[in-house]
């Protein structure tokens, strides 16, 4: 069986039945990408999942799903475990309570084919839903007024990117180290990628829906006053 072009990695913990809509968004995106000629495999990484989450993934029949159970307790390291299991040239991440638009994989793959492996792709915007819904647009590093120094103050991109697997192997995600004062593994990874010459770009016409939770990793990090691992910018 030929290797897939794209590996969709769904990271799950304790989402329970919230993951069902996420998996259906993966299925919709996968179908459109395969209709355009791409081969897509789907891996679910369950990190210390509860019974409800485990049962939902075990019972999933809509499309083939490779379930990888790990006992890590860290979102960044759990993503690395997914990358290890992946066979596709490109990797797309989704958290198991978030949603992809249906054209995400197809359109990101097209842009990736044009731009090459030194590019990290993000949707044009995210719709954050929950207590305080809003839209966050993602900047493109080729915009005229983009300045990487601004990333010292805020992280404009989530970790739900479309990235070459080779990039993720060369630049794995770091661990969250709250006790030492470090968090935001996605922010730190974005900075480290820029330091190594990768460019973050957006795929026009695409969006993710991101669920806000009071006890999300980001909310805990904010309350803890941690910072991302420092990265020398020069």
């Amino acid at each position: 069986m030929s290797a897939p072009d794209i590996t969709a990695i769904v990271n799950a913990h304790r989402e329970g039945d919230l993951a069902e809509a996420s998996l259906r968004s993966v299925g919709a995106a996968r179908a459109i990408a395969e209709a355009a000629g791409a081969r897509v495999e789907v891996i679910a990484v369950l990190d210390r999942a509860d019974e409800a989450t485990r049962a939902l993934f075990a019972g999933w029949r809509a499309f083939a799903l490779n379930v990888v159970e790990v006992d890590i307790g860290d979102p960044g390291l759990a993503r690395n475990a997914g990358v290890t299991a992946a066979r596709g040239d490109w990797v797309a991440f989704l958290d198991a309570d978030d949603l992809w638009c249906e054209t995400w994989l197809r359109d990101a793959a097209r842009m990736a084919a044009m731009r090459g492996a030194r590019t990290i792709l993000h949707p044009e915007c995210n719709i954050y839903f929950g207590d305080d819904p809003y839209i966050r647009r993602h900047p493109d590093m080729d915009e005229p007024d983009f300045d990487a120094v601004s990333l010292l103050a805020r992280n404009p991109w989530t970790v739900l990117s479309f990235t070459a697997r080779s990039t993720l192997i060369a630049l794995p995600f770091g661990a969250t180290r709250f006790a030492e004062g470090f968090g935001y593994e996605d922010w730190a990874w974005n900075l480290a990628a820029i330091r190594q010459g990768y460019r973050h770009k957006v795929v026009p016409g695409t969006a993710h829906a991101v669920r806000q939770r009071r006890r999300s990793q980001n909310a805990v990090a904010k309350a803890s006053g941690v910072i991302p691992q420092p990265v020398r910018l020069i």
Binding site: C125, V149, L152, F182
Partner: protein
């Protein structure tokens, strides 16, 4: 367009966009126009304003179309957590420089390589402070020959290369206003440290720097060493410091022989409050107060 015109058009287009019977496509056009007027009323150029308007239009159009898909996915399970209308949501997110990152960008732009040693916070508004800064730089250069230094503070540095034993890079961060500057300075210093990741970080403690240094909050593992050098404050600085830190500090600053004991207690308190400080120096003025006479003795405090 005049400022008044931009203000008026912004308010009118925002109000029109908020009307309940306006269709989605029209609302997007109105919000994009409102964004253009918002940029113009803030003094932006027409080119920037139009670019921002196109960006808002694109973002809202994409969000609205994708939201319909997301709502179909959720409704299949009987859920209704998603918003109904993307055009009623605020649009956030621009990675642009602000008051805390613009000074950092300016400093980084002028650097070829990251410095080995970063000294934050020294002032040179008085002869005493100038002598202290020169003495501190001299000691650091003596301890670490060949290493590059970068000194960053709020004030303009007029120390000559001869005084500093050059070459030393001295930079000033423009003061924005007393209270704002103090709050922003902490973040600016924090951003600088994270961007440069120096081998040694020396933070100069003076009465004026208390609040900003407390705000940096850098975790231990971010730095290989963190040292602080203490310069006793002048009477006016002491008064301000006492007002600012009355609840935390009990030491009664003096400049006679008892001053050194107070400074030692201050250093010990500092290390207790900041466990990641690895070395503390006390700075004691020596000699007169004129530019030609003043010197500063730097004494390491054993921890």
């Amino acid at each position: 367009m005049t400022r008044f015109g931009a203000d008026l058009m912004y308010l009118l287009t925002k109000a029109a966009a908020a009307l309940p019977l306006v269709g989605r496509a029209r609302r997007i056009r109105l919000l994009a126009r409102a964004r253009r007027f918002q940029i113009l009323r803030r003094g932006g150029t027409e080119a920037t304003a139009r670019l921002e308007a196109r960006t808002v239009a694109s973002t809202l159009t994409t969000a609205a179309a994708c939201l319909e898909q997301f709502r179909r996915l959720e409704s299949a399970e009987g859920r209704g957590d998603l918003p109904r209308d993307a055009t009623r949501l605020k649009v956030r997110g621009n990675a642009r420089l602000d008051a805390t990152t613009a000074p950092v960008a300016e400093i980084l732009q002028g650097l070829d390589t990251a410095p080995d040693v970063l000294i934050l916070g020294p002032e040179d508004t008085s002869e005493r402070a100038r002598a202290f800064t020169a003495a501190l730089i001299g000691v650091v250069k003596g301890q670490a020959p060949g290493r590059t230094l970068l000194v960053i503070g709020q004030d303009r540095y007029t120390l000559s290369g001869r005084e500093t034993g050059g070459p030393v890079t001295l930079r000033r961060i423009d003061r924005l206003g007393a209270e704002v500057a103090r709050r922003d300075m902490a973040q600016v210093f924090g951003h600088l440290v994270r961007a440069l990741v120096p081998e040694r970080l020396i933070v100069v403690e003076s009465a004026a720097a208390w609040a900003m240094i407390d705000d940096i909050g850098l975790p231990l593992a971010a730095l290989s060493t963190l040292e602080t050098a203490l310069l006793p404050p002048t009477q006016s600085e002491r008064t301000r410091a006492e007002r600012m830190r009355a609840e935390r500090m009990r030491a009664d600053w003096t400049e006679d022989d008892e001053g050194e004991a107070d400074q030692t207690r201050e250093a010990e308190a500092l290390c207790l409050r900041w466990p990641f400080v690895t070395r503390v120096w006390l700075a004691t003025p020596v000699g007169g107060v004129s530019r030609a006479d003043v010197d500063v003795r730097l004494t390491p405090i054993p921890l």
